[in-house]
Subunit: 270 residues, 4 copies
């Protein structure tokens, strides 16, 4: 299968890829902390979130503007209006921003403003979209499909790399299994496998996997302990009123507490 | 969850949806047989295939022109040139044609020529694409995502229906499980569940699930026995030289033999 | 892996194994219908069930006496008292009986009375138990573990065969997957794989897989269509009051209706 | 479902259960390290292993004597002779010993010598065996079935508790999923779920899940980071010649290196 991902393979590129986004380096010795609300909902919400991210040592601000939702009747995001709010919040607090892109037609316009483009799990094998982001030079965070093998994931990354964009970040976010106690099953065993097979940075998103706020912090610590280059978490000023993913979003206090423990945890286990 | 698919739900639409494509009705008493090569490879190949489909009582000609492939280095299809060949072959032998569409930008152009648009498994939750085919009036066959629950699948169908296109056909093609003896696990139990929950027609594609030519015929018979409205199979003049999916494609003789047994099987079990 | 099951392998034993149980042959041209309640609950219940099985052409009477239950607080079966009732009912109506054995210490005593010993899914790799039934000459029906690959299942059968008992029947009953619309996912694709790899008879139990009474009949038909040597179903005089598995048990009328369609279905598809 | 495990539930027993085995406490503040070869193979092998475990701060010596093997033709263990060697090695180096019990008939005899009885994954729902170990007072480590939900696992623990044995330890060892890059998928998300639902100690066995020696250490660190009360690893003087599980066994040097990093890792993340 490794012939499906020769550009992504560590065999052909032994050194880790470092991805520079403003002041942040992803893939290096220092772990990164990506945080923000699931969806951008209002100016107040994203500005407040950005401030809390920055004050607690977070590195990148996340916020969804175009939301892939299982049901056509769920909140679909604020679109470009949300993107402008996200960018404003990021600039105000000195944080690069990441947002999801769902449509190849939107890639150019979003890439002008966002610092990192996210490809969501459901689009991991949307090859048209992969090629479109591959034709930009904006860093891309490729989330693992919830039923995709590691090798299929690396082959999906290859679609981006093969178009010329070398700035690809992988994000483990849980796979679908028979277990229903957690929303998905976080596959932390994938991290050492990836670190062996590819030179690309690996981020872990524990909240989408477990689906419950209380379990995010221990899984975030474990993600760094197993060797990930960073974690991405969701937080919200008032999770109970979030328009999406409230159950797995941290409160600001919970986020502050998590942030305070992650860096020493990382230092100890390396 | 049924609030995610009110248009697809049988509760709100008790009678079966019948989809008329040229002389063929999908969703009615008579099962349909959709057949053809995985990919259109040449004029000879598709013309020969179409003749064999027609001569053996097949109802619809399939052929991929735009191919979603795990690896960017695999054969990606002949594109619009392939589509023209497919349409020519269908017209010559009186068969409506079905082909996959992968990109929302291509929907309009493909819908002008193809009789049925296929949404592949990897794109089942490509919501941009679902909305785009929903804005046409061309029948759409929505394949189940290999990671998707029945309810998520119906919610994906809802995206198409909600845009105004009522001609949606569902196609079970196997789900991903731990078992590796077969390529995927054909979920025939999904058929009676679907027949209860939705009014949309249900087709089964046994070949993608089992991945081995010898096992296609018994699974096709079982698909009709369990109540599906039809089956879709792959065949090729010379499977050993097929550019994609050769291992699961029937030879023409195997196809003729399968076609000869399907209709009596259906009659007996209804 | 085939070295793990050389006695079970068709390579070393090309002809189908036929298992004779009283007047019934399992593994031959005629499909068998095994039916009865999940648990033996009372003399009336099992006698009535046996009569209905016999009157509708059923071949073997099933009834659980020792029940493996997820919770220690669920009904655990009537034990040897239930076995005596089961045997009495079988003799009265001329039906061989099958019951589950859970403990190697019980094997000898149960084998004196039952015609077929069932090994349940949870015990498929209880190697002590497999060896114990292997030392009898009583036919054994080995249900697939809900977590077990086809090759592991055949290797489990090998434990029985290697002890000298050649009368092993395999029973597909669904595997565990992410899909929750059905209780488990019936893997009918396993049937043609088994028919190729082994000479042992293959029975399908659709009710444990789907978990819902209404879906049992279509899956039973599909099981014969795909090539199984028979089906096993649960029925009960009053499913709503059954002490176990009521939701998936057929009423007597539903059973009669299913039995009436199975044989013609089989004839048509062979 | 919690009615299936009222004795195991934290609701009814808010404080952590502490299990005392010789000088070791399992379930308390200090993590435990259980180590040793997969199988006891010879006096030299187990004595040497025990010395290395003790010298590096390991707390409990593991060694299989009765081995559940997928194939009847694989090495089945040294039996009681192996148990005597294991006990001798443990006594020599001051380590309590744990070994697997597969048969209810063996429970009494093994419980006289071993300090902890292990129930393997394949026997997690062997209810006869669970009841048998429940009638002893020897601590029991119950490994999770590879396709068992957390609630089924707790209900299996309940079988032991309900017989009167309160000394139950849970051991996560990976679940079966579609991913084949690792042998199974280690479900570290189960750890915080368990810590919430039950008062029983939770150990993680990363090697059976990943199946590759190089990935054991990062997953062991992550296991402590996520909150487990200890880890169990396999090591062998010469993994290439191990009679079972050589691929996932650590060398003595790798074990020493792992042991040296685990305790500081634990301290930092608590």
């Amino acid at each position: 299968m490794s012939s499906s991902y020769k550009l992504a393979s560590r065999t052909n590129h032994p050194r880790n890829t470092l991805i520079h986004v403003g002041p942040v380096t992803i893939g290096g010795e220092e772990p990164v902390l990506i945080a923000g609300p699931c969806s951008v909902e209002s100016r107040d919400q994203i500005m407040h979130s950005a401030r809390v991210v920055a004050e607690n040592g977070g590195n990148v601000l996340r916020g969804g503007c175009f939301k892939p939702r299982t049901s056509p009747y769920s909140f679909q995001g604020l679109g470009y209006e949300g993107l402008d709010l996200l960018v404003e919040a990021g600039r105000t607090y000195g944080l690069p921003v990441i947002t999801e892109v769902m449509d190849s037609e939107d890639v150019g316009r979003i890439a002008e403003k966002a610092d990192i483009l996210q490809i969501g799990s459901r689009n991991m094998q949307n090859f048209t979209l992969l090629k479109a982001v591959g034709r930009t030079h904006t860093p891309v965070m490729l989330k693992r499909g919830m039923m995709s093998s590691i090798d299929e994931w690396l082959a999906a990354a290859e679609y981006i790399l093969a178009e010329g964009n070398t700035n690809v970040i992988l994000c483990e976010r849980g796979i679908r299994t028979f277990e229903t106690a957690t929303r998905n099953t976080l596959d932390l065993g994938a991290v050492p496998v990836l670190l062996e097979r590819t030179h690309l940075p690996v981020i872990v998103d524990p909240a989408h996997a477990c689906g419950v706020r209380r379990w995010v912090a221990p899984l975030a610590k474990a993600s760094l302990a197993v060797g990930a280059h960073g974690v991405m978490v969701e937080m919200h000023p008032n999770p109970a009123e979030a328009l999406s993913d409230g159950e797995q979003s941290l409160t600001f206090d919970e986020f502050a507490s998590l942030a305070a423990t992650l860096v020493p945890a990382w230092a100890a286990v390396c």
